[in-house]
Structure formats: structure tokens, C-alpha cells
């Protein structure tokens, strides 16, 4: 198994604190992450290092269930968590002021399971799909906060 990275950025017409508050609440992620079906068992309720939750992700028919753990929570600039079971990955949201707006950058470092590469024909196709998904997540956060 090898690793890969997907990332995307956007400027959002909202202050960093609002962007941070929106994306750092674990249960809200189903509203902007395509394929994320369910978040449950969030402990404790507020974002902080050590917070854990269960997730269920439907990735083009491949279902990944597991547990996530918040690893960094620095309001309003960084929110980071890891999927510690299922398919392991590290998700980092960085929010920087950009005038009266925010620049949001999402980076996802993930393992590439051999089974997924087989299913999606090649590593390049698999990585492209994940890159597209990172773009969609950032675009969805922008949409939810701006319009």
C-alpha cells in the first residue's frame, strides 16, 4: 500500500471563524462531503484534539466504515483529523484571512489500497477521482457559506 495526496483551495466570502465553525463540527460533514453517509458516536461534542467519531463513507460503491480522531483544533486557522480505522488518511483544513474573506485549503493524505486500484483500473484514475472529490468538498463548503 502506498500514499497519495489530494488538495484544493478556494476563497470564501466569510471570516475565518465562521468557516472554521462550519467545517469543524463533525456531524455537519455529511452536508458537504460527497459520499459521506453517516457520522455517529461523536465524543466529546465539540471539536478538540482527541475527539473521536464513527463514519461511513460510500465511495462509488466501496463502503468504508471506521473511526476518526481529531488531531489539531486551532480556531480559527487549522482543523485536522485522521481516519484511524477503515482506510487511513489525514485531513487538514487550513483557513487563512484574505482581506475580509478566508482562504480555505484542504489537504488529504491517504493510503491507496491495492483493492481500490484494481477496482478503478489504475492508480492515476483513483488519484484523479480523489482530487476531484477534494475540489468538490471545498466548492461545497464555499456554496454553503456564501449563497
Amino acid at each position: 500500500m502506498s500514499t497519495a495526496k489530494a488538495s484544493d483551495s478556494a476563497t470564501i466570502a466569510a471570516p475565518p471563524s465562521k468557516v472554521y465553525d462550519f467545517l469543524s463540527e463533525a456531524a455537519r460533514a455529511t452536508s458537504f462531503i460527497p459520499g459521506l453517509s453517516k457520522i455517529s458516536n461523536i465524543k466529546p461534542a465539540s471539536a478538540q484534539p482527541g475527539q473521536t467519531w464513527n463514519y461511513e463513507f460510500d465511495w462509488f460503491g466501496v463502503v468504508v466504515k471506521g473511526e476518526s480522531k481529531c488531531t489539531r483544533s486551532e480556531r480559527p486557522s487549522v482543523h485536522e483529523f485522521q481516519t484511524v480505522t477503515g482506510n487511513t488518511s489525514t485531513w487538514t483544513y487550513e483557513i487563512n484571512p484574505d482581506g475580509s474573506n478566508s482562504k480555505l485549503t484542504l489537504s488529504v493524505q491517504y493510503n491507496v489500497p491495492d483493492t481500490a486500484v484494481g477496482r478503478f483500473a489504475s492508480r492515476a484514475v483513483f488519484e484523479k477521482m480523489n482530487q476531484d472529490r477534494a475540489h468538490e468538498i471545498v466548492k461545497n463548503i464555499k456554496t454553503m457559506l456564501e449563497s
Binding site: F22, T30, K38, V63, M144
Partner: protein, 112 residues
């Protein structure tokens, strides 16, 4: 755990109709269930989570600011639901409807 999904676990809610007008997205869903769900609770929780103020009535939820309604009618083994999202941008209307559909599909599984 990684597995292949052949049948969707939330298959008891189907989207049966979708229409996008200039300023309104309308979707109709059909839910098969043994007993009626607490749709008011399910949808209000989802709307609160995405910061959309709302007002509940029996069989209906109103989105504040004239942003639409969610209505449902119970039958013996089914519920007919209609979601109308008004205003916002077209992508946001679609995201709100998808968020509500995920809530409708996965609520019972989560609570089981």
C-alpha cells in the same frame, strides 16, 4: 472496514421526482417503513446542523425567510415526502436537498 455495497442500506427512501425551476428545487421521496418516523426531529436536526432556521408544524417544516417547506403524508406502510427549497443558489438548493435525503435515509440505521 472496507466492503462492497450492492444494496444501499438506506434503500427505504427513494427519490421519485425532481424538478429544478428558476428559483425552486422540488423533490418527492417515498419511504417504506414499518412504523412512521419522527420526520420533524430528523429534518429539524439536519437543518439546524447546516444553520438553516426553521419552524415545525404537524406534518410540515417551514424554512425561515421563505426558503421553502418540507411536508410529509403518512400511509399504512409508506410516507410520501415533498421537499421544496426556495431562494439560495441552485448548487446550495441541491446541497440542502441532499443533506435532507441523507438524514432521511440513514436516520433509522443510526438510531437502531
Amino acid at each position: 472496514m472496507i466492503s462492497l455495497r450492492i444494496f444501499h442500506p438506506g434503500r427505504y427512501v427513494w427519490r421519485t421526482f425532481r424538478k429544478e425551476d428558476t428559483n425552486v428545487l422540488t423533490e418527492r421521496w417515498l419511504s417504506l417503513r414499518r412504523v412512521p418516523h419522527d420526520w420533524n426531529f430528523i429534518f429539524r436536526r439536519a437543518l439546524d446542523l447546516i444553520w438553516l432556521p426553521n419552524l415545525s408544524h404537524p406534518g410540515r417544516i417551514e424554512l425561515a425567510g421563505q426558503h421553502g417547506t418540507i411536508t410529509w403524508q403518512e400511509r399504512r406502510f409508506t410516507t410520501k415526502l415533498e421537499v421544496c427549497i426556495e431562494g439560495f443558489s441552485a448548487p446550495k438548493r441541491a446541497l440542502v436537498a441532499t443533506t435532507l435525503l441523507k438524514a432521511a435515509r440513514f436516520y433509522e440505521i443510526e438510531e437502531a
